[in-house]
């Protein structure tokens, strides 16, 4: 059963990874991934907007797809919204499985799908203005791998 959390508050990556590992009974492999606000030159903050309600539904559906494709003993997705400073963690996924390949692949799959199928939008705030981050064709193409 996947755990999905959408929140504005920061999360403790190490602590979440530990708790996830303790709860993933019988797992032989755990993969964790964190996305971070890249401290690009001139970036003062990242504003993340989302669609409350649909976000949780979309993330749950993506996690269910992953659970249907791989034998997983745990899935965790945490994604923040609101204003984040450069260097802050935006999101994390964790997957647990009997063997590493399933855990790696499921984490990769979750990331590919939540990048272009979960209703989040990023805006980069700079001293000289603000721009919505454009979706990349390569992100959409990545879905065809699965």
């Amino acid at each position: 059963m996947a755990e999905i959390r959408v929140q504005s508050a920061p999360f403790a990556y190490g602590q979440e990874a530990d708790l996830f590992a303790e709860g993933a009974e019988g797992a032989g492999a755990i993969v964790t991934f964190a996305g971070i606000v890249r401290p690009d030159h001139g970036l003062s903050a990242m504003e993340i907007e989302h669609y409350p309600g649909m976000t949780e539904r979309a993330l749950s559906a993506i996690a269910e797809d992953a659970e249907a494709r791989w034998q997983l003993s745990g899935v965790l997705v945490i994604h923040r919204f609101g204003r984040l400073a450069p260097g802050e963690r935006i999101m994390m996924v964790a997957t647990a499985a009997a063997h590493r390949r399933a855990a790696f692949e499921a984490a990769d799959f979750l990331m590919d799908y939540l990048k272009s199928r979960a209703p989040f939008w990023k805006k980069e705030l700079r001293q000289d203005g603000a721009d919505w981050v454009a979706a990349k064709a390569s992100d959409e193409d990545a879905l065809s791998r699965w």
């Binding site: 309600g53 935006i90 999101m91 939540l114 199928r117 979960a118 209703p119 939008w121 990023k122 979706a135």
Partner: protein, 83 residues
């Protein structure tokens, strides 16, 4: 019928509001867009390039020709950039 129409990211900024209640007789998403575009210039600006618009009907990703009969809410937004 009346439904809630929601806007996100630059679609919301161009239209100037996050949500509104719309009375519509449109049968599909495209019909609803045509009705909105006819309303005011700011809608025409937001919907000028439909290839840049994504839509969700009742919080499920949908297409321009998806039916909206009986829907409670329709949301318009740019391609998503999560992760």
């Amino acid at each position: 019928m009346a439904l809630d129409v929601l806007y996100f990211a630059w679609v919301r900024e161009r239209i100037g509001l996050p949500k509104e209640r719309i009375e519509t007789g449109a049968g599909d998403v495209r019909g609803l867009i045509e009705q909105l575009v006819a309303k005011e210039d700011r809608y025409a600006a937001a919907f000028a390039d439909l290839s840049a618009i994504r839509v969700a009907v009742d919080q499920e990703l949908s297409e321009l020709d998806s039916p909206i009969a009986g829907a409670r809410e329709v949301a318009f937004f740019p391609p998503m950039t999560g992760g």
